[in-house]
Amino acid sequence: MGQLSRFWRESEHRYRLLGSKCGNCGTVYFPPREVCPTCHRDSIGKMKDIELSGDGVIESFTVVHEAPPRFSRQRPYILALIKTEEGPMLTGQIVDADPDEVEIGKKVHAVFRRMGEDGESGVIVYGYKFVLD
């Protein structure tokens, strides 16, 4: 199933970790939002783009053994929740690390990586993963 339009739409958020900041209360969100869940209508039209630094801390993680077909060649892979320096938490893989080295509270930073491709001869999709500092 081709999904090119979806990947294209999100590329700048995935390439540059582009989130949004509420112009009313200052809270930063990633992935980006059109409306602030705290300020509601007061935030409409005031949500500004903000680029995250890519620095963060491991909130929790797992080593995935049973995976969908698209990830079968990566098994086992480390998936984590990363609390970013700017506040929002996001879901991403930790790569170039042995599972034994990964711990809650360790610092990580984002790297630009290949995420997969749109079918066997389709467009390659890129995005963020994380490595240990």
Binding site: P31, P37, T62, V64, H65, E66, Y77, P88, T91, M115
Partner: protein, 389 residues
């Protein structure tokens, strides 16, 4: 048509749960539906509305318009009974019963069927993991390799870390489910298991193993709901739905305030108990949405039966069938099985049997009130009902 104050379950039916290779989506839906109609001692022409609960048939079976399919093959197309599918991911069953409950409460209908069905073995191999992962935030969770098991595991690791909870306590939820399922002829797995077996089973997403995870299940459940007026007029001894509550939370786990607090479950439970006018100590048993063993503990805590981090004190003895607070007399999602759209409806099937004293070997002693908890994803949606006398 008068405004109905109370809503009753007057009949229930279900198929066996399991890998039912020789049965199709429509076979299962019809089997459960007809059993419920027979049990309620009504005719299919008596039905005024059908709510069909299903989560993933559009993808797994490439069949949408499930409500029309179920109505047609139940033989009621000729009667032109309205039918609609209710989809709230893995909480579809609870949400469908809630819609039926509200429809009767409003006075619009007197007799309504809720049928839940899922046929999950129509695709094979790891494809099903990808389809199941669509219940998460596809673009910001599953895209990065998240699966439902992985997100449950992430919650489990942080929970164990923060509250010093041992891995064994988490296993006990699965052990309890299997013990109860051994007494349920409809259950997918009727073998008892030990803590060691859970700890030594293959890893799925560390620290969770395959025995921590609900299986891939085919199955269907159906119940017939009726208004107070219909029940009185026909002198039916039904089981009353005392209250219904539902709440949402952020879809993605990473957006929540806490990764091991099910805020939607907290809110829905509080509201359901308040509306029913009962206290936690009045609850005879719980049916919990323990799709992954860790959720059994989190749910006990967020439903207010233990403080955060303390459910480990309940899972060794209290939750047993003859314990202080029996959990999942049916066998739960782990052992009875988890046919997504049918799961929430099957909790009502169990409650109906238990409260009528017809649950056989797994009968909870003096069962008066059941608290039923159906949840979607990692806690994005929770539906809680109180069923009782």
């Amino acid at each position: 048509m008068e405004l109905s104050n109370d809503v009753y379950i007057i009949g229930a039916g279900e198929t066996k749960f399991g890998e039912l290779w020789d049965k199709s989506l429509r076979d299962l839906a019809v089997e459960a539906g007809l059993e419920a109609i027979k049990d309620a001692n009504i005719y299919s022409k008596d039905l005024q509305m059908l709510y069909a609960s299903n989560s993933l048939a559009g993808t797994i079976n490439e069949q949408s318009n499930i409500a029309a399919l179920a109505a047609d093959f139940s033989g009621i197309a000729e009667n032109h009974v309205p039918a609609v599918r209710v989809e709230a991911s893995t909480a579809s069953g609870g949400a469908a019963v809630r819609e039926a409950y509200l429809a009767i409460k409003s006075g619009e209908y007197d007799v309504v069927m809720v049928g839940g069905v899922e046929k999950m073995t129509d695709i094979y191999g790891t494809e099903i993991i990808d389809v199941q992962s669509s219940i998460l935030d596809r673009e910001w969770e599953s895209f990065n390799g998240a699966t439902p098991a992985a997100m449950a595991a992430i919650a489990a690791r942080r929970y164990m870390h923060d509250f010093n909870v041992e891995r064994e306590a988490i296993s006990m939820v699965a052990v309890n489910d299997h013990a109860n399922a051994s007494l349920n002829p409809d259950a997918q797995y009727r073998n008892k298991i030990t803590v060691d077996q859970v700890l030594n089973s293959d890893p799925v997403a560390e620290p969770l193993n395959v025995f921590d995870c609900s299986p891939i299940t085919d199955g269907a459940s159906a119940i017939i709901l009726a208004s107070e007026g219909f029940v009185k007029k026909n002198r039916i001894d039904g089981v009353r739905i005392l209250s219904s509550a539902m709440a949402e939370d952020y879809l993605a786990l990473h957006s929540r305030k806490s990764i091991y607090t099910l805020e939607s479950t907290k809110i829905a439970t509080e509201e359901a108990l308040k509306k029913a006018g009962i206290k936690r100590e009045d609850v005879s048993f719980l049916e919990l949405n323990d799709s992954y063993s860790i959720y059994g503990l989190l749910e006990l805590e967020d439903m207010g039966f233990a403080e955060k981090g303390k459910a480990k004190d309940l899972v060794y003895d209290d939750i047993k069938l003859n314990g202080r607070l029996p959990v999942n007399p049916s066998g739960g999602l782990k052992a009875k099985g988890n046919p997504l759209g049918a799961t929430g409806v099957s909790q009502f099937f169990e409650a109906y049997l238990q409260l009528k004293g017809k649950a056989g070997q797994r009968q909870v002693k003096d069962a008066r009130y059941a608290l039923l908890h159906n949840m979607a994803g990692t806690g994005a949606t929770s539906v809680v009902h109180v069923v009782g006398e």
